[in-house]
């Protein structure tokens, strides 16, 4: 088999034996026929840090909250979110309604910053660096707002079991609204830049197509799934936090273009629409936020004792910027750690669609097509390219591949 051919040339980094959360580096083995990709194989696990094992063997459930936050640098709201929901279900804790609203606001701020970050990366992948700078300049505003609301720019540490750490007060509302207004005033411009630009259209239309049926079969979730016409969004589908009170609708590309193609362009549309949707959700939450406490049990020692004595299991699902995050937690009475902890990040399932997306495409399209899934990994460091005709194997660096991508954009522009 082709896999066997490429296996010997691939590069393996032996990192910790325990649990994978599928973040950061990954390796794809592409089999190419000239410029065309005929087969793709995925090798994961290079940044395997054994996080679940630590939750099951070292940390107590409260410490594990902060460990969950460190599963991912970008999704450090949605992992604690799903973890808190799972533990609360297992231990029978109900967070106060005000905490539900603050959690929702935090999660939506994360979505805005993550989608804008992605927009910049996507532009960079096709060599459109002006837009990369523009998108990341625009993103600074939400980063400042996150710092203003949570106290931290990146790792927010706002989630606690049974509530949140910090309240959002009336005095803070004008500052929050100011940022939201800034984005609203920019939205039409962003839409024009990303959807009407000829170069972007040429590089993204009909590239990296994932058909609806394939998306359903391969369990693709999040914006990538929605761009293929699967209206699956945890915020819409399951009542959790303040989303249960709101009327949320999953964004699909046909809302703008009238059809679903399932290509990279459609994924841009979905993410743009979701930025707008997130702004509306935050505004609605600010208006409807109920008064009251923000934490079910403010005393950590009492909470820890209750968690140690609790017996039960729970599943927490939350919609991350990239799709559904699910945490399964099992607590056993008298055990100081979690009995079982299973985390699934959205990229775990979205990776399975990579071979389908890349097959039949050119090597120059790989960066943008792969990035269009917004995989939660720092980069596709190395790929092993096997030329089927010549039988030659070589490792192509990311920089070389990006160079190919830039050349293609230049060629199309002429």
């Amino acid at each position: 088999m082709i896999q066997e051919e490429t296996k010997k040339a691939t590069y393996t980094i032996p990192v910790g034996p325990i649990h994978p959360a599928l973040k950061e580096p990954i390796r794809l083995a592409l089999t190419v026929d000239g410029e065309e990709i005929v087969d793709v194989d995925i090798f994961a696990g290079q940044v395997h840090r054994g996080i679940e094992w630590l939750g099951m063997n070292r940390n107590n459930p409260i410490q594990t909250m902060y460990l969950a936050e460190r599963i991912c640098g970008i999704c450090n709201i949605c992992h604690p979110f799903a973890y808190a929901l799972a533990v609360e279900q297992a231990a029978g804790i109900t967070p106060p309604p005000r905490a539900d609203y603050i959690r929702t606001i935090a999660a939506e701020m994360e979505r805005i910053h993550s989608h804008l970050l992605w927009a910049g990366v996507a532009a960079h992948e096709i060599g459109f660096d002006t837009i990369f700078y523009l998108a990341w300049r625009v993103r600074e505003e939400i980063m400042d707002l996150i710092e203003y609301v949570t106290g931290n720019r990146v790792t927010k540490a706002i989630f606690q079991i049974g509530g949140v750490r910090r309240d959002i007060t009336e005095e803070q509302f004008p500052r929050i609204r100011q940022s939201l207004d800034y984005y609203k005033s920019l939205f039409d411009q962003l839409k024009k830049v990303f959807l009407d630009d000829k170069t972007i259209q040429m590089r993204t239309r009909n590239v990296g197509i994932l058909k609806t049926e394939d998306a359903l079969k391969l369990l693709t979730c999040g914006p990538s799934g929605r761009a293929s016409g699967v209206p699956k969004d945890v915020r819409q589908d399951q009542p959790y936090a303040a989303y249960a009170d709101l009327n949320i609708k999953a964004m699909t590309p046909d809302m703008v273009t009238g059809t679903v193609v399932g290509d990279v362009y459609d994924r841009i549309i979905v993410r743009l629409l979701e930025v707008k949707q997130s702004i509306e959700i935050i505004e609605q939450c600010l208006e409807e936020m109920p008064p009251g406490p923000i934490l079910a049990q403010p005393k950590t020692a009492v909470l820890l004792k209750a968690l140690t004595q609790a017996e039960g299991e729970g599943v927490g699902r939350a919609e991350a910027p990239r799709g559904e995050v699910i945490h399964y937690v099992r607590l056993e009475a008298g055990q100081s750690t979690l009995a079982t902890w299973k985390v699934r990040a959205p990229t775990y399932v979205n990776l399975m669609s990579v071979p389908t997306i890349l097959k039949g495409m050119q090597i120059a399209d790989v960066p943008i097509a792969f990035a269009s899934l917004d995989p939660c990994m720092s980069c596709t460091n190395r790929m092993v390219i096997t030329d089927r005709v010549l039988g030659k194997k070589s490792i192509m660096s990311y920089a070389e591949m990006r160079h190919l991508s830039l050349k293609k954009t230049e060629k199309l522009r002429r």
């Binding site: 032996p14 034996p17 699967v230 589908d237 009542p239 009170d245 599943v315 699902r317 699910i326 399964y328």
Partner: protein
């Protein structure tokens, strides 16, 4: 597709599998201000009825979403929970469905479901390498996350003698070996 209530779904499981269903329960919780209900289903089936149960879920929804398989080492047996969701795409109607099956360690095997749900292959590869459950008929037998030089017969999630031995665990500077 007609959406059924959780009670009806449990009844349909009992009709389809007979005494293959060991127990089934509904979990409910009120959320936020409007007190909409979060609901999830937990169905435990015998190992012999497991494939039929997955097929039954595929009848409830054409493409059920399999999120993950979680596994717990319970001593003499390994508990697998297949976390499905059905009825997605409908506002607040989606149901979490945890399909629980216990496999004795003396015969640690479970049939693959990749023929029914293509995307199950990653998570099946994972329980195979991490828990040592042999997935019979899996199309891709390779490891998913563990490196190739990881020793055979050591399963990180196990809590018995097949779990990682102490000398495999790195002790942080300034800490003592447990």
């Amino acid at each position: 597709m007609e959406l059924q209530t959780p009670e009806k779904i449990i009844d349909s499981f009992k009709t389809a599998l007979g005494d293959g269903v060991i127990n089934a329960k509904i979990y409910e919780r009120e959320v936020a201000v409007k007190k909409n209900k979060f609901r999830s289903l937990w169905v435990e089936v015998k190992k012999s009825a497991f494939r039929d149960a997955v097929e039954h879920i595929c009848h409830l929804q054409e493409y059920p979403h399999l999120a993950i398989i979680s596994s717990s080492d319970l001593g003499a047996e390994v508990e697998l929970i297949y976390h499905f969701t059905i009825y997605y795409g409908h506002h607040l109607e989606e149901l979490s469905l945890g399909l629980r099956v216990k496999v004795p360690k003396s015969d640690l095997k479970i049939p693959t479901i990749t023929d029914l749900i293509h995307g199950a292959v990653f998570t099946e590869r994972e329980i195979q390498e991490m828990m040592g459950v042999e997935v019979v008929g899996i199309p891709d037998k390779r490891r998913l996350f563990l490196p190739e030089d990881f020793p055979e017969g050591v399963y990180p999630w196990r809590k018995d003698e097949k779990g990682p031995p102490d000398d495999m665990l790195r002790v942080l500077p300034g800490r003592e070996q447990k």
